[in-house]
């Protein structure tokens, strides 16, 4: 309290200046606290906004990444499934051709020239194994020759499969246009 204030003190209420000063100080402090709280709140809000933007951006990036990965995985799975399907179909076509070749070649037994062809095959068996070879007709056509632990398979099935296996890339024409 300045000397002038001391002089202006009302004798009936000597504590009035003190009250006034305390009130003013309290008001100033309250203003400061409110301003600081407001500033803090603004900072918290700004930080939260910034964080939420970053989180949103990261989530979007992760989502895009995961979406991209899922799409790529799905495409890879589809390509793989398509490829497996194509290979399966080719194998079926190959097996079907093999079955057809065997079925057709077995029909040769009904041809008038079959007995002569069978004799030729018997001669070939004896040529390969020697004159002592035992030659018998195969149940599905052609002959089998045996001689002392050796055998030659000149059945129609074996002959057809030898040609079929040697056809190589020609068989691919089944699925290549």
């Amino acid at each position: 309290m300045t000397p002038a204030q001391a002089r202006a003190v009302d004798p009936a209420d000597p504590l009035a200046p003190v009250r006034t000063a305390l009130l003013r100080a309290a008001e100033e402090e309250a203003h400061q606290l409110v301003a600081a709280a407001r500033r803090d709140a603004e900072a918290v809000v700004a930080a939260a906004r910034s964080r939420s933007t970053a989180v949103l951006r990261e989530a979007r990036r992760q989502g895009e990444q995961e979406g991209g990965r899922a799409t790529a995985d799905a495409m890879a799975r589809t390509r793989h499934a398509v490829r497996a399907g194509v290979l399966r179909a080719q194998a079926e076509a190959y097996d079907e051709l093999r079955r057809t070749v065997l079925a057709q070649v077995r029909l040769c037994r009904r041809e008038p020239g079959y007995p002569a062809a069978r004799e030729q095959l018997s001669d070939q068996a004896r040529l390969l194994l020697g004159p002592e070879a035992v030659v018998i007709e195969h149940p599905r056509g052609g002959v089998i020759g045996t001689a002392g632990g050796r055998t030659v398979d000149l059945s129609l099935d074996a002959l057809a499969l030898r040609v079929f296996d040697g056809a190589g890339a020609g068989i691919e024409s089944l699925w290549r246009t």
Binding site: R79, L87, Q124, G149, D153, R162, G168, A169
Partner: protein, 466 residues
């Protein structure tokens, strides 16, 4: 087998033992000759002649002898070693170690056939390796660049991710802008590993860029000996007739060498180091030397064999003899793996001897060789500093040494480490290297030309490098 030729089949089976058949009464049969075995049911299996003595032949059956009745068995010899059709029909296919389909498809067809034995490229017709094969792996592309026509092995040990690395390279490798294919030969793989390989490479196979040959651990060892030869035969024709650059990945060559040892023992040969046959060196060379480029022919065959060193022993016969033949090595380290870093390439033990023929201005990037040299030198210094710190404590290090010590973790995590499904473009890999190097004071980067350093901003962003 030509259709005209009627084979004489032998029916006197003296013995069936494990995967072996002993046939008697044979004549004119030679070692390694391919045989076709017909069972009484009509089922056909295949084999290779292991041993011939008088009128006896020992044949190892590739599909095993399970369910065979010696009484109804017929065996025909081809009169030559295994031949396979060759051509683009192999691309996109998954087969076993002797080329039979495993993918549910028909047999592989080709316009011509070739013996899988093959032969090394004639040295006088060799064109020196050149131009890179980019693997998408920072450690390989930047520090041990793989060059077209090169043979560069990966030395690993049990428990390290060599199979993952081999598969990642098979899935990602390219020769930018030129026709490229991969032939992956897996030898002695467990079924789990075979499944992993097949799944991981399915996409590239479906794209018709890859041929997968899988010999599993339970397959006969003789098939394991055929597998790399088959892979190389397929690759040679894709490359030198088809004009493609072909990368052949062969894993695990130690498993192959063990199969060779088993067959050699069955043949009664005199064993050499660690019971491997004395001809292990020339046998490995007969595989590795099939890679290269040929004068006047398009394409190239690059070989990346993977081998595991038993107990991590680099002096073991397989890595030792491989190292004499190949042009460098990529070494995987257990310590780096323990840090959780993938791929755990030990750059200071790794080397691509032909790197200068495949990297640098006009091939990769103008700053590539300088950056690689500087990074290797920095790693060597960081290792020295680390050893010094262990002896004398970090406080005893010079400020420069401390910078090197601080650089090493940055190198491990910011350069070396990459995700197992991530392809790093060469530019990206080189930028990673630059970022690690620029953590060092400019005075320590004496191997980088001043112009290159000046061209960089202080934050390590790229400047004008050619």
């Amino acid at each position: 087998m030509s259709p005209e030729r009627t084979p004489v089949e032998y029916t006197s089976v003296r013995e069936l033992r494990g995967p072996l058949i002993v046939v008697e009464g044979v004549g004119g049969v030679g070692w390694d000759e391919f045989a076709t075995i017909t069972l009484a049911s009509g089922e056909r299996r295949h084999g290779v002649v292991l041993e011939v003595r008088d009128d006896l032949a020992v044949v190892e059956v590739l599909e095993g002898t399970g369910g065979m009745d010696p009484a109804g068995l017929r065996m025909a010899f081809d009169g030559r070693p295994l031949t396979v059709p060759v051509g683009e029909g192999w691309l996109g296919r998954t087969c076993d170690g002797r080329g039979a389909p495993r993918d549910g498809g028909p047999p592989v067809f080709g316009r011509t056939s070739a013996p899988v034995e093959g032969m090394a490229v004639n040295p006088v017709r060799r064109q020196p390796p050149g131009e890179p094969v980019l693997t998408g792996i920072a450690a390989v592309d930047v520090l041990t660049t793989l060059v077209r026509g090169q043979k560069l092995p990966i030395f690993s040990a049990a428990g390290l991710p060599h199979l993952e690395l081999a598969v990642q390279i098979a899935a990602q490798a390219t020769t930018t802008g030129e026709r490229f294919s991969v032939v992956f030969a897996g030898m002695g793989l467990t079924h789990a590993d075979a499944f992993f390989v097949q799944e991981a490479l399915a996409e590239r196979a479906a794209a018709g860029e890859l041929c997968l040959l899988l010999n599993t651990a339970d397959d006969p060892v003789i098939e394991r000996i055929l597998t790399p030869r088959l892979a190389l035969t397929v690759a040679e024709h894709l490359a030198f007739d088809g004009g493609r650059h072909v990368l052949v990945i062969m894993t695990d060559m130690t498993s192959y060498a063990e199969a060779l040892r088993e067959v050699s023992a069955a043949r009664g040969e005199v064993p050499a180091r660690r019971a491997y046959p004395g001809y292990l060196y020339s046998d490995l060379a007969s595989l590795y030397e099939r890679c290269g480029r040929i004068v006047g022919r398009p394409g190239s065959v690059t070989v990346l064999p993977v081998l595991t060193m038993p107990a991590g022993d680099i002096t073991h016969p397989v890595p030792d003899l491989t190292g004499y033949i190949t042009e460098g090595q990529i070494v995987l380290a257990r310590q780096i793996h323990a840090e959780g870093v993938y791929p755990p390439v030990d750059a200071l033990s790794s080397l691509s001897r032909l790197m200068r023929k495949g990297a640098g201005l006009g091939r990769t990037r103008g700053d590539h060789l300088d950056v690689a040299a500087q990074l290797t030198a920095a790693l060597a210094r960081a290792r020295q500093a680390g050893e010094l710190a262990e002896l004398a404590g970090e406080s005893a290090l010079s400020p420069a040494d401390r910078r090197y010590l601080a650089m090493y973790p940055r190198y491990l995590h910011d350069f070396l480490h990459q995700e197992r499904d991530r392809t790093l473009a060469l530019d990206e890999s080189l930028e990673r290297a630059w970022r690690v190097l620029l953590t060092l004071p400019p005075g320590e980067l004496g191997m980088l030309p001043t112009a290159l350093l000046d061209a960089r901003n202080s934050d390590g962003s790229p400047g004008a490098v050619a």
